[in-house]
């Protein structure tokens, strides 16, 4: 099987959706969404039945390994659910719903390429593919000023970050003479002493800026709340999970495949960034009333949690990142699904729209509650186990640098603060003061199925984590890291 069969299949699907639009009457546009989702489900299943052989290609620009395969499947699942969200959202998009589906598919393609990137050229191209499609997706509701505003804010800031990324790549290329990850790693291991060259470091930092923007980590988080708030819910959902995960996988690959030797010395930077990101996201979320904006801040906080895994600088941490992302996927997408359904026919996205949801639709209420509990990191759901793994990885590293303990402390503070607003949402569902209209919410069967899948996913990851943990551990094996802690432990074992 070809290295990029999956990507090709997705592109063909996207084109098919675009073309299919021409022959689909307006009344049946919905079927295009089902077709897209169905196609993705087939591709997803296909990735299991005929797993692509590991290897690299295109002049070593693209690599298929455990990590990339893991993320490809991850993105596929995300896209499938996002398309279902889009189906629920479709009535609020005046024209071009089929483009909306195909754009999601194009963004997915970009993400899948990102998962495989082994060269800065591919990093840039795949990332821009994602960005450019999101410009359109975010501003898709052209008659809603908020949507346009979100699109433009995202456009300018994303382009700004892309400029940094490109400039950084230029410096990396200039100092090392190559853009290939493996080559850079090899050179750092054996070759000339450019690892200490500040032009090279500057280049790496600029690349981190570009990726940090995608992840929404401090100090590049500033766009997230506005864009999350303004964009159509499916786009926000995909931004929250897909775009973020693409940034994560690229950051993993850059830091721990291309320049692990440099990354090892940046633990302080990662610790500080993680700590501030967690605090920023959680603190700002406290007074938030707009649901999507709240999730925007929560997304910043979660970026901070994910950075914990980076800061830990060990395989456990990377595996924990992957695990956490999986849990985050189900929780966030479930939340956006519920928000899409609940805000249907309403102007407001305020938490008050949730009032009495438990009477209007117990399913929605239950799933949203589960999602919030999972995000808050409380057992028995996925979020808890994810945070458990992340914290474990960080504490494990504590022996090398006491700053890790401070990081743990700040994380705990962040988690506690987050309980406040997550529970605020739960409270809004069950016992809000203002008596809202209690007409039952009709939830379509596909949406029901997706919600149940999300809930099941959160429960599965929380209750029976064994398989998933093993998968993530396998996936991160390609990441090379020679953390000082590991060295110390090794020495301790063989004195």
């Amino acid at each position: 099987m070809n290295l990029i069969t999956l990507e090709i299949a997705v592109v063909i699907l996207a084109l098919a959706v675009l073309l299919g639009d021409l022959w689909t009457p307006v009344a049946h546009k919905r079927s295009l969404g089902y077709a897209a989702a169905g196609g993705l489900i087939i591709i997803f299943s296909y990735s299991f039945f005929a797993a692509p052989a590991f290897g690299s290609g295109f002049n070593d620009m693209l690599v298929v390994d455990g990590l990339s395969l893991f993320f490809k499947r991850f993105f596929l699942v995300a896209a499938i659910i996002v398309i279902f969200i889009a189906l629920e959202f479709a009535d609020r998009i005046e024209t071009g719903i089929s483009e909306f589906y195909s754009l999601i598919l194009f963004a997915l393609t970009g993400m899948m390429f990102a998962a495989s990137a082994n060269d800065f050229v591919l990093v840039f191209v795949s990332l821009e593919l994602v960005s450019v499609t999101f410009y359109v997706l975010n501003s898709f509701q052209r008659n809603r000023l908020a949507s346009l505003e979100a699109g433009i804010k995202y456009l300018i800031l994303s382009a700004l970050s892309a400029a940094f990324l490109v400039f950084g790549i230029a410096f990396i290329f200039g100092t090392s003479g190559t853009t290939n990850f493996s080559a850079i790693h090899g050179l750092l291991e054996t070759g000339p002493d450019f690892g200490k060259n500040s032009a090279f470091l500057l280049g790496i930092l600029f690349v981190i800026v570009g990726l940090g923007f995608k992840i929404a980590t401090f100090p590049f988080q500033i766009w997230a709340p506005d864009v999350y708030q303004g964009s159509p819910a499916p786009a926000t959902a995909f931004l929250a999970i897909g775009s973020k995960a693409a940034g994560i996988v690229l950051l993993l690959r850059v830091l721990f495949i291309a320049v692990p030797q440099v990354a090892l010395h940046w633990n302080t930077l990662l610790i500080v960034l993680a700590a501030i990101t967690i605090l920023y996201g959680n603190l700002c979320a406290i007074p938030q009333r707009n649901l999507k904006r709240l999730l925007g801040y929560s997304s910043i906080a979660n970026a901070g949690y994910l950075l914990l895994g980076f800061a830990a600088l060990n395989q456990t941490g990377f595996a924990a990142i992957l695990y956490y992302l999986c849990g985050y996927l189900f929780a966030v997408l479930a939340a956006f699904m519920v928000i899409s359904i609940v805000t249907c026919g309403r102007d407001s996205e305020d938490v008050t729209v949730l009032a009495g949801l438990n009477q209007r639709s117990p399913l929605l209420a239950t799933v949203l509650t589960l999602a919030m509990i999972s995000l808050a990191g409380i057992p028995p759901l996925a979020g808890f186990f994810g945070k458990f793994l992340l914290l474990k990885a960080v504490v494990e590293q504590g022996a090398t640098n006491s700053a890790y303990y401070w990081l743990v402390g700040i994380t705990l503070i962040g988690v506690v603060i987050s309980l406040y607003y997550y529970f605020g949402i739960i409270r809004a569902i069950y016992w809000s003061k203002e008596p809202a209209d209690l007409s039952p919410v009709i939830v379509s069967w596909p949406a029901r199925a997706v919600l149940i899948v999300c809930a099941a996913g959160m429960l599965y990851l929380g209750l029976l984590p064994d398989r998933a943990v093993q998968q993530t551990q396998l996936a991160v094996q390609v990441l090379k890291v020679n953390s000082p802690a590991v060295q110390i432990q090794k020495e301790a074992r063989h004195p």
Partner: protein, 624 residues
């Protein structure tokens, strides 16, 4: 029979408990049955006790029977049965006087709607009291000590709907708890130093090494004494006993005169070996002071039960003083006779109160001799016994105390003699005002003798009050403390006081006579109290119990109350308010402040973005 014998004491102990449980669970609705069960239980207990008494009367040493209750590490707590002359005597008192009072109660209480509850509590009390009596170790004693406290609480507060009764019950319990505070610490201390809780083992180790408690011997002794101070209502914890008269009168007779309040004295005698001289000195002074204080207060009380209550206090002080001056045998002797005549007096008072439809003011009684002859005569016997007129029992026991004081401490002897005089005075004051003279109210005009079920116990107790000093109780007790003491003949006993301490006996009689004469001169035919005019301020102070309640409530207000106010304030405003809400508020404030960064202006966003890049660059490239 021999197989059965070891189990008998257990039956004595547990029969009352069984009856309490049975009443509480099953016969609450059936008042008669409840009373029957309770009375039956205690009468059987009494018969068994009597049997035990005669069985073991002459035994030298009876081994303890124990069951392990809790045993952890070097702390092993047993529930057991200790039988020696002390406990055998107390068994008889508790079950004997108890039986009389139980029977009396059925007459006194049968109209009350909660008779079942009354008898259940009474049975619970009997069980607890027997537990103290039979205790083989400190821990067991403490357990039953507490149970006695709670049964007393339940019975004082029997008429809980009366605010005064409910308050009195609470006060009694908490005051007792103050004493128990010291008691428990004392017990722990003794255990920590001497390594055992068992009286037997402790006595052995004290015999082997009198200095086993080391430097804290006095402290430990006084802490143990604290327990007695609470239970036996010694100054400064005496305030609860007069208030406890809010309970039904038979309860006052049984618990607050005859048995429970004597438990403190019993405990002191039981562990007499533990006290060193300085501790005993303090104990004796406290006892003497309590005796005097209570006697003085009693002089100006007008409530028949309160007079008796203060006299109880005073007599308890007597006993404690006796222990303090090294006469535990005298203390026990006085305890026994006091149980007889004080129970008699209370029941007599109850009979009067019952006849007068719950009138307790002695100035509204009078002229009861004809109307209530049995009560009159038995009450007179009680009065004579308490006043220490020979040959009534009180004379002999009081003389024993006086003799002990005379030997050890001249000042305390004078105090004791003074108290004897005061006792005679206030008792005859009571007697003259309440029983003689003209009827002072309608109620007393129309009084009738109480039913037989109430007068019969009076008669039994009266007999005991008369002969109590002559039947050899003192020598029986003496065996515990002076094993070589020999038996004496009746005639010898009759005149014994004049034999070994003629001074004490003479002073005692003299004091009683003086007290009697003054009372006669003042109250023989009085219709109102002449003393307040003569004594002025002092009289008011006496009537107000020297303002102890007020002082204490003030003290509590500036200590416990203030502490609780302070704690509550800190909790509400500093911990919950300032710290918790503060942390919460600060966090929220931070959140609100921080999000001001999100101005919505794209240009500022771009600037912040670039500034962020610059900061990161600076830190990574130039600071490290």
């Amino acid at each position: 029979m021999n197989d059965l014998l070891p189990n008998l004491p257990w039956s004595v102990l547990f029969l009352p408990l069984l009856s309490a449980v049975a009443i509480a669970l099953f016969t609450k609705k059936n008042r008669g049955l409840s009373a029957g069960i309770s009375i039956g239980a205690i009468v059987i207990s009494f018969l068994l006790s009597a049997f035990l008494f005669f069985q073991y009367r002459d035994a030298k040493q009876i081994p303890d029977t124990v069951l392990s209750w809790v045993s952890v590490g070097n702390l092993s707590v047993d529930i057991g049965i200790k039988l020696d002359s002390l406990s055998l005597l107390m068994l008889l008192i508790v079950t004997g006087v108890g039986s009389a009072i139980h029977i009396y109660s059925w007459g006194y209480m049968h109209e009350d709607r909660a008779v079942s509850r009354y008898f259940a509590s009474l049975s619970l009390f009997t069980f607890s009291m027997l537990g103290i009596v039979l205790a083989t170790n400190f821990f067991q004693m403490f357990i039953f000590w507490e149970l006695v406290g709670v049964s007393s609480y339940l019975l004082i507060g029997f008429w809980y709907e009366r605010a005064s009764a409910a308050d009195a019950a609470k006060k009694a319990f908490i005051t007792n708890r103050l004493g128990d505070f010291g008691f428990l610490i004392g017990i722990i201390m003794v255990w920590a130093l001497a390594g055992s809780l068992s009286f037997g083992t402790l006595q052995e180790s004290f015999k082997a090494n009198p200095q086993i408690l080391g430097a804290s011997a006095t402290l430990a002794g006084l802490l143990i004494f604290c327990g007695a101070m609470g239970k036996s209502a010694q100054f400064p914890l005496h305030v609860w006993l007069p208030d406890a008269m809010e309970g039904p009168t038979p309860v006052s007779a049984l618990i607050h005169a005859a048995t429970m309040v004597a438990a403190g004295v019993y405990m002191l005698c039981r562990v007499f070996f533990l006290f060193n001289l300085p501790a005993l000195e303090i104990i004796s002074w406290i006892g003497g002071f309590t005796a005097l204080l209570a006697a003085v207060i009693a002089v100006q009380q007008n409530d028949i039960k309160r007079i008796l209550a203060y006299s109880t206090l005073s007599q308890l002080g007597y006993m404690v003083m006796a222990v303090g001056v090294g006469g535990p045998a005298a203390a026990m002797f006085h305890l026994t006779t006091h149980a007889f005549f004080k129970a008699l007096l209370f029941l007599g008072a109850g009979s009067v109160i019952h006849a007068l439809h719950h009138e307790q003011d002695i100035w509204k009684m009078g002229a009861l001799k004809k109307k209530m002859p049995v009560t009159f005569w038995t009450f007179l016997i009680g009065t004579l016994a308490l006043a220490g007129i020979p040959p009534f029992s009180g004379f002999y026991s009081k003389d024993a105390v006086l003799a002990a004081a005379f030997e050890h401490n001249a000042i305390l002897f004078i105090v004791a003699t003074l108290v004897a005089a005061l006792t005679a005075f206030y008792m005859f004051r009571l007697f003259f005002v309440a029983f003689l003279g003209a009827p002072k109210s309608d109620a007393s005009d129309h009084a009738h003798e109480s039913p037989k079920i109430m007068t019969m116990p009076l008669q039994i107790l009266a007999v005991l009050a008369v002969i109590g000093g002559l039947i050899g109780i003192d020598t029986f007790i003496g065996k515990t403390f002076q094993p070589e003491a020999h038996a004496v003949h009746f005639a010898e006993r009759f005149l014994a006081p004049f034999g070994h301490a003629p001074m004490a006996a003479l002073f005692g009689i003299l004091a009683s006579v003086i007290g009697f004469s003054i009372a006669w001169s003042l109250y023989a035919n009085a219709s109102c109290d002449p003393l307040p005019e003569k004594l002025g301020v002092l009289s008011r102070a006496m009537r107000n119990k020297f303002y102890f309640d007020e002082i204490y409530s003030g003290l509590i207000a500036i200590t416990h109350e203030a502490a609780s106010r302070l704690a509550d304030f800190i909790d509400r405003w500093i911990v919950a308010g300032l710290m918790v809400r503060g942390a919460h508020g600060t966090t929220e404030l931070f959140g609100r402040a921080l999000r001001l960064v999100q101005t919505g202006n794209l240009q500022i966003y771009a600037f912040l973005f670039v500034a962020g890049v610059a900061v990161v660059l600076y830190f990574v490239l130039f600071r490290s």
